[in-house]
């Protein structure tokens, strides 16, 4: 069996769902779990609000500009261009920061009270980079994991054209399930059979929660993640669950998710 590093192509994942469903905790933990198993992981954060950086344990600086803000420039007509010589591979090399376990994190700037303005360069650079992220041969074996902004409408933006598998992170509440159903419909309309859509049930509190959500959405269920006090504590402190409560049942469930994703990718080879 090929080791992770020897596989020709890494995973191509994006995590979607309603705000508060736990996208960042799932994607941040999954990124590090995959990295510990030998994946070269690029975590992609296109949220204008802080998300995965806290959950991955990279911390968030409120004041500093993200590196990506210096990756693009605007011409007189107001059009944005990546700096000369900056393609996807170089952008990752130059503008992705290093998070724990060697995960590389490429993120857009976060909204502050000044609004989007100061971070517009990073948004445009990010968008252009992800459109061509699948092209460089040097990145083929990397695993891409995008943490997408919350909500249904966000699925209509093309933030993750590299993704082949969309993980719907869903709580066993109606609002969360309905949001996921809306996202799945929009994704299917946009991408057709080009993508796999599957389900991670999060904050499962009762027996049968996983099945209940799966029945509502009718997509393959990959993992059921239990509700856990450890997550609440980590989220309050703004630190990674893996660092604060490494033996949390949530971590174990996400390790199980990594098993499933890995096994499926080996089968595809």
């Amino acid at each position: 069996m090929a080791t992770v590093a020897e596989r020709p192509r890494g995973l191509r994942l994006a995590v979607v769902g309603k705000g508060g469903a736990g996208k960042s905790v799932v994607s941040g933990t999954l990124a590090r779990v995959l990295a510990r198993r030998g994946h070269r992981v690029l975590a992609l954060d296109s949220d204008t609000l802080p998300g995965i950086a806290w959950s991955i344990g990279a911390g968030v600086s409120e004041e500093d500009d993200v590196p990506l803000n210096s990756a693009a420039w605007r011409d007189e007509k107001g059009r944005w261009h990546l700096n000369k010589g900056v393609g996807p591979a170089r952008a990752v090399q130059r503008y992705a920061t290093t998070a724990p376990d060697g995960v590389r994190l490429l993120q857009i700037g976060k909204n502050d009270r000044r609004g989007v303005g100061p971070n517009r360069a990073s948004h445009n650079a990010f968008w252009q980079i992800v459109q061509r992220l699948d092209e460089p041969s040097s990145l083929q074996s990397w695993t891409f994991l995008g943490d997408l902004p919350a909500g249904a409408r966000q699925a209509a933006y093309n933030w993750a054209p590299y993704a082949r598998q969309f993980l719907l992170v869903v709580e066993p509440t109606y609002q969360s399930m309905m949001t996921a159903r809306r996202i799945a419909r929009i994704m299917r309309t946009m991408r057709g059979d080009d993508v796999e859509i599957s389900l991670v049930v999060n904050k499962a509190a009762a027996d049968g929660d996983g099945e209940r959500v799966q029945e509502f959405l009718d997509v393959p269920l990959l993992a059921v993640v239990p509700v856990d006090e450890g997550v609440t504590t980590a989220e309050r402190a703004g630190v990674a669950l893996l660092d604060l409560v490494p033996d949390s049942p949530v971590v174990r469930a996400i390790e199980g998710l990594a098993d499933v994703l890995d096994a499926a990718s080996i089968e595809r080879i």
Partner: protein, 246 residues
């Protein structure tokens, strides 16, 4: 009077909007509940039911496919894209969900334009905003008399709540923070520390609200006497008293 409800996704904006709307209507007020979220869910929290809520969204989406004709007047919009909810609340869905741009260019309808154009004249308008701070940034004079910022004790929620409070303060608007899902003093402390010295209402973590979320019902229908729901009903009373001209 116009009240808008803001905060991070998943903090409980819709529960707050729905419960306050129902409580105000029960107290005899004329209430228009405006779902200005691009992921409209207010119907669920008002007690209209999940599938009915999605149907209402589908009518709005029908504009795109030509199944629905466009509506140019605000009154017509309220009639066409609305429905009655329990206790006599009128629910209107403002946004579409399938496009990067949630407004409708030819009707010119957006959450902000509706907030501007809807006359409150005796009505109380409750606007459930899109998650995050985008709409709060775009709020102008006349959009809202009071901004309710819902926060829960997580770093991400407080990042957003803090900015929503600052933005509203900068504009000289009145803001009330709703500290939601508060389990203990520590929870309350982190919220207080983040949002500073502003008016605050504390909603304790509440089993009835959690059950309502799981079942897709209105919290006020699950248990109007649960501790969390009671706090919101009291808040509705206070808001109503502010609406009466002195």
């Amino acid at each position: 009077m116009k009240i808008v409800v803001a905060g991070k996704g998943g903090v409980g904006k819709t529960t707050v909007s729905g419960t306050i709307s129902r409580a105000l209507a029960r107290a005899g007020h004329d209430v228009l509940a405006l779902d200005a979220d691009t992921n409209p869910m207010l119907g669920v929290s008002l007690g209209v039911g999940p599938e009915e809520t999605d149907l209402l969204v589908a009518v709005r989406q029908g504009l795109e496919t030509g199944e629905t004709e466009h509506e140019e007047t605000t009154e017509g919009f309220v009639r066409r894209f609305g429905r009655d909810a329990p206790d006599g609340v009128r629910l209107v869905v403002a946004s579409r969900i399938d496009r990067p741009n949630p407004g409708c260019a030819c009707c010119g309808v957006s959450a902000e334009s509706l907030l501007t154009e809807l006359e409150s004249d005796g009505k109380i308008i409750i606007g459930d905003l899109e998650a995050g701070i985008g709409t709060v940034m775009r709020l102008q004079e006349g959009h809202a008399d009071i901004v309710l910022v819902v926060a829960q004790p997580t770093a991400k929620s407080l990042f957003i709540a803090k900015r929503a409070v600052e933005l509203t303060d900068d504009r000289g608007g009145r803001v009330i923070v709703i500290a939601n899902r508060v389990r203990n003093d520590e929870d309350l402390e982190v919220i207080r520390e983040a949002v500073g010295d502003c008016e605050m209402v504390v909603v304790p973590d509440d089993a009835a609200i959690a059950l309502a979320d799981r079942e897709g019902r209105a919290a006020i229908d699950v248990d109007p006497n649960s501790p969390g729901v009671r706090v919101l009903i009291d808040l509705a009373d206070r808001l109503a008293s502010l609406a009466v001209p002195v």
